[in-house]
Structures are given as structure tokens and as C-alpha cells.
Amino acid sequence: MSTEAAVVHEPGKAREAFRAITRDVSSVAEAQKPHKLWLVALAIAVTAFLIGVYSVYVLVTTGIGVWGNHNMVDWAWDITNFVWWIGIGHAGTLISAVLYLTRQTWRVSINRAAEAMTIFAVMCAGLFPLLHTGRPWFAWWMLPLPNDMGSMWPQFRSPLMWDVFAVSTYLTVSILFWYMGMVPDLATFRDRCAMQGKKIRAIIYGVLSLGWRGSARHWHRYERAYLILAGLSTPLVFSVHSVVSFDFATSQLPGWHTTIFPPYFVAGAIFSGFAMVLTLLLPLRFLFNLQHIIKQEHIGAMCKIMLGTGMMVGIAYATEFFIAWYSGNPFELFAFRSRAFGPFWWAYFAMVSCNVLVPQFFWVKWVRNNNILIWVLCILINVGMWFERFVIIATSLARSFLPSAWAHYHPTRYDVGLFVGTIGMFVMFFLLFFRFLPVIAMSEVKGASPEAHAGGPATKGGHH
């Protein structure tokens, strides 16, 4: 494949470099025995996943009552987790699509992993709208299907309906995009397996790679399709979380009823998305020594993006307060006062410190070079972003219009169990992906690596 193309300019050296890339990346999937740490991680993830499965079982057989939600705080951890996961699912498409369109070549080292992460995150997110319903076995009534109830259709004025479409669209496109991008690399796997005489694997990979032969025509189509999908999914990056934010923005509740939500949510989503990408990639990069592919400057670039989005989120927080005061609406003002200083003040300050203060470290260069520190900060950011959603949802509900409806909220073990479960599921899928699929877009990395540009203009490998 593109190796041949590169040979034209630089015999030897380039070929070597490309081979190295191919070898390193493929070795992960081809290793006979999985890495010990990998096995440990998988074991933990699966356990967590099973906890989640149990929680779901109890939930569905017993009722929402096993959660802490009640008549005054009808949404809490369930929707918090939904929004959080959707947010995490953002970086993927952003990195693949937006950065691709803006020719940010450094993206290639991480886009594949990021896309995978997106899909798994959206899968986790998708669970919650389903499970938070009192009668999940009827959740399909939200789909516009023919029925024998005369005029009964879903109600399109409801933002929850918009969610259904926004999220499902996003998931579909993300999967297409991810799979499309993998085809050439799957072909590489296929070939290598064939060479090493692993028949079954070769066939599996063969089917998955849809008969890719790396011909110029293939590459041509591939590039076109990739471009189109990138174009398609770019608006989605912004639409999905905007729509999710409508759930709150269009409602009555002080603290929800806010026009700033769409941009604020999107920024937050990208913020948390990147944090999660790094949370996952840094250890794996170390584990499978991909240092020379996921280079330090790539990590640095992501830190900068988090710094930027983090400050956007900070501005959003500030604006909310300003507007609450400026609007002169006493309910609004109280909502935010009690948010910051009321019963859930700790959640609020967890959120502010994690999302606004923590990223500030990224101003410093040695922080951006200290991967352990980065990793810790990213974890904190993820925590912070979870609290952001919790603060918005739970604290607003706990202090609604009528003081008679003011109430406490305490989660139960099943709230926690389900959340842990989704994390387990997410990590589990990611680990499997990492083990069996090309975790790094080899072809693209090659295209983006200096060797490819030694001679002609900085185009991709396969030109003629």
C-alpha cells in the first residue's frame, strides 16, 4: 500500500520508517500473549461492568425507586451521567472531523482512538435515557412507528424527542466515520496475518476490510468519502450537545432556563472529551511504547485545547451569575446563590476548581511535558465536568419555585452501581478495541510523517 508510493521519493529510509510504524502498531494486535497490565485492566473493567449489569437488573425489576430520585428531584444521577457521557463522546468527532478539515496533521496520532472512544461513550450515554424511564420496555414509543392507536405519535415539541434523533444520528455517523477510517489499516492487518499464516484472523480482517487493495482508485474514493463524512459530522459535533442542552434550556426551572446553554455545553463537552482522550491514551501510550507516534507535542496541543475550552466554560459560569443578577429575576438570582452557597455548595466548588482552576496549570510548559501530572489533571477535569452536570440538574431541582417543594437529594448504591457499570463497559470496550483493532491510523500517520514529505509537496502517501 502507501509504502510503495513513498518508495518513489526515498528508498530505504522512508520505507524503514513506515515499516517501523506498521510494525509497532500492528504488534499490539499481533502479540501472542496480551500484556499483563492489559489483562488486569480488563479484569477490573469487566467486574465494574458486571456491577452495572446487576444494578440494571434490580432497577428494571424493582423500579426507579431504587435510585435516590424523588418527586421533587426527578432527575439526578441518571441524566447527569447521560450528559456527561455525551460530552465525553465529543472529542472523537472533533479530532477526526474538524481538525481534519482544518488540516491539523498532529491529530492523526490520536484520531482513531478518539473516534473509538466517542462511540463507546455515546453507547454508555445512550443507556441512560432508556433506563431512566419508569417503564423502559415501552421506551420504543419514542420512535415514530405505525401503531393501532389512531393518532398516537411521539410528541415532537419535547426536547427528549430531539435527543433521540440527535444522539442516534451522531452515533451512526461516528461509527461510519470510524469504520471508514479503519479500512486501509484493517487491510494491513489482513496482509500481515496472511503472511504470518494466521488463516482465521486473515479471513476476519479480510471481510472487515471489504476487499481493500490500496489501489489508486481505492485511495481516491477513500479520500472523497472521508472528506464527505468529515463534512457531515462537523455540524454534529455542535448540534448534539446543543440539542442535549435544550432539555434544560427550554424548561421553566430557574437554573435550567438559560439561553447560554448550547455554546456552554459544547465547550464543556470538548473540554471533557479531550480530558478523557488523554486519560485513556497516556497510560496506553506508555504501555505499548507508542511515544514516537503519539508525540509529546501532540499531547501539548491537546493540553492547550483544554486550557482554551476550560476558560470558555469558566466564562460561562461567570456569565450565568452576571445574567442572574442582571435579569433582576429574584428566582433566577436565588437559584444561583443557592447553587454556590446553598446545600450543594461543595458540588459547585468541586466543579469550579476542577474546570476553571485546574486547566490553568497548562499555561506552564513543564506541566505540559509531565505526562503523569497531565493525567492527574485530566482525571480531575472529568470529575469536574461530572459535577457541572450534577450541579445544573440536581441543585436546580432541589430549589424550585415553591419552597414547599424544596428537598434534599441522596444517591443510593444503585445510582453509583450503574455509573460504575458504564465506566466499566466503556473501558472494557476500549481495551478490546486496543487489543484487536488498529488503534492508530497507520496510513494517516505515515501520510503525516516527515518521511512522506521528503520529496514532493506535503500530500498524502498515495499520490501519483
Binding site: 393501532d148 392507536m149 398516537m152 489482513r190 496472511a194 503472511m195 476487499g211
Partner: protein
């Protein structure tokens, strides 16, 4: 080098594969969708009854009015299956030792009720009211069919929500002069329908709470 690529002959499969991928789901959906419709399942439900009571005989041949037995149909939600006493009005003299009537006689004698099996069975969260419909001049036949021809009663209409709503949206075709309410096989003239429609100010509600409370 030997790499796995789809062999040449797979090309010929392409169109079949495509057809399958596109066609199969459509076919399945259509199949299931029809398979589960009440039309396919409920209409014609015809359970056995403890007493082989023939509407064809009583309502048909003998031409008894529905309201002779279903007395409350005009003033209550339920049309009410008659008490054994009603049967005995005649059957204390007519066919008074037929075995078929044994359950009725015992019921009457010992006050032990005859257990009929419900034919027209709506979900428990649906509140249907005979009084409302009969007084709005909707004929029995519209929902129950040609009872006068049923030796053993079966379900004539799908009794689905769609079916209800359709009539509530366009009741006219089912209206008739109150005098003909119980007539079987009666076809009201357009003029009659209009007259009734206007005279009775027919305006069926279609709010949820009309039937669900």
C-alpha cells in the same frame, strides 16, 4: 504475496446480497406488523359459553329486542348480561327441561350465578360507556355486527384505539334514528344520519380522558 481478497466469483453474489440486505427487513417488518394487528388476532374471537345461548335464535328468528335482556344499555355504562331470572321468564315454561338450560335453572334455583365468558374485552384502563353511545344514536350493529346471525357470539370489530378514534372523528356513518338503534342489517339513509347528527348535536370528544381515567 498471498493476501485474502474476495475471489472473482463473489462479484456475482453482489446483487443478491444487496437485495437481501434491503429486502429482508422490509419483508419481515411487513410480515410481523400484519401478524400482530388486532385485525389478524382478535376479530372472530369466539369462546365457548356455559350455556349454548343462540343470539341467532332469540334476536334473529324470534326477533326479540336487544333491550329485553340488556336492560341497562340506555342508562348505564354496562349493557349488563341478564340475570338468570330474566331467562326464566320464558324458560320456566318453554323448553323447561332441556339439558342445555340446566345451568340457568340451577342458577335460578340456588342463586349461583352462570359464569359467561366475556367476548368483547377491553383493557381495564379503558372506560367504555354504552349509555353514551346508544343515546348518541349509534346502532348496536356498528360495534357488535350482525348479532342476529350469530349462533355463537364472536368479536366483530377490532376494538382497537384506532378503530374507536376513527368513529369519534367521523361518527356520521354509524348514526341512525334512535328508533332503529337495535335493528340489525339496517342501513340508515344519508338524510336520516344528517338529521340525527344535527338533532343530537353529535360531537364526540377525542381527549385522552374521554376513555382513560
Amino acid at each position: 504475496m498471498s493476501r485474502f481478497i474476495f475471489p472473482e466469483w463473489t462479484e456475482t453474489l453482489k446483487k443478491w446480497v444487496n437485495l437481501l440486505i434491503l429486502g429482508a427487513p422490509v419483508y419481515l417488518v411487513a410480515l410481523i406488523a400484519y401478524g400482530v394487528t388486532p385485525e389478524a388476532i382478535r376479530i372472530g374471537y369466539q369462546p365457548d359459553q356455559p350455556v349454548p345461548y343462540s343470539h341467532a335464535l332469540h334476536a334473529g328468528e324470534l326477533g326479540m329486542d336487544c333491550r329485553y335482556c340488556h336492560t341497562t344499555v340506555e342508562r348505564a355504562a354496562k349493557a349488563a348480561v341478564p340475570p338468570a331470572a330474566t331467562c326464566m321468564n320464558c324458560h320456566s315454561t318453554v323448553r323447561k327441561d332441556s339439558d342445555a338450560l340446566l345451568p340457568v335453572r340451577t342458577a335460578f334455583a340456588e342463586g349461583e350465578a352462570v359464569k359467561w365468558t366475556r367476548v368483547h374485552d377491553l383493557p381495564d384502563y379503558v372506560y367504555f360507556n354504552h349509555q353514551a353511545h346508544v343515546n348518541a344514536s349509534v346502532g348496536c350493529e356498528s360495534c357488535h355486527g350482525r348479532i342476529d346471525q350469530m349462533v355463537k357470539v364472536y368479536q366483530f370489530a377490532p376494538l382497537t384505539m384506532e378503530w374507536c378514534i376513527n368513529c369519534h372523528k367521523d361518527p356520521k356513518p354509524h348514526l341512525r334514528d334512535p328508533a332503529n338503534i337495535t335493528k340489525m342489517g339496517y342501513v340508515a339513509t344519508a338524510e336520516e344520519r344528517n338529521r340525527v347528527f344535527i338533532a343530537n348535536r353529535i360531537n364526540p370528544p377525542i381527549a385522552c380522558s374521554t376513555c382513560h381515567r
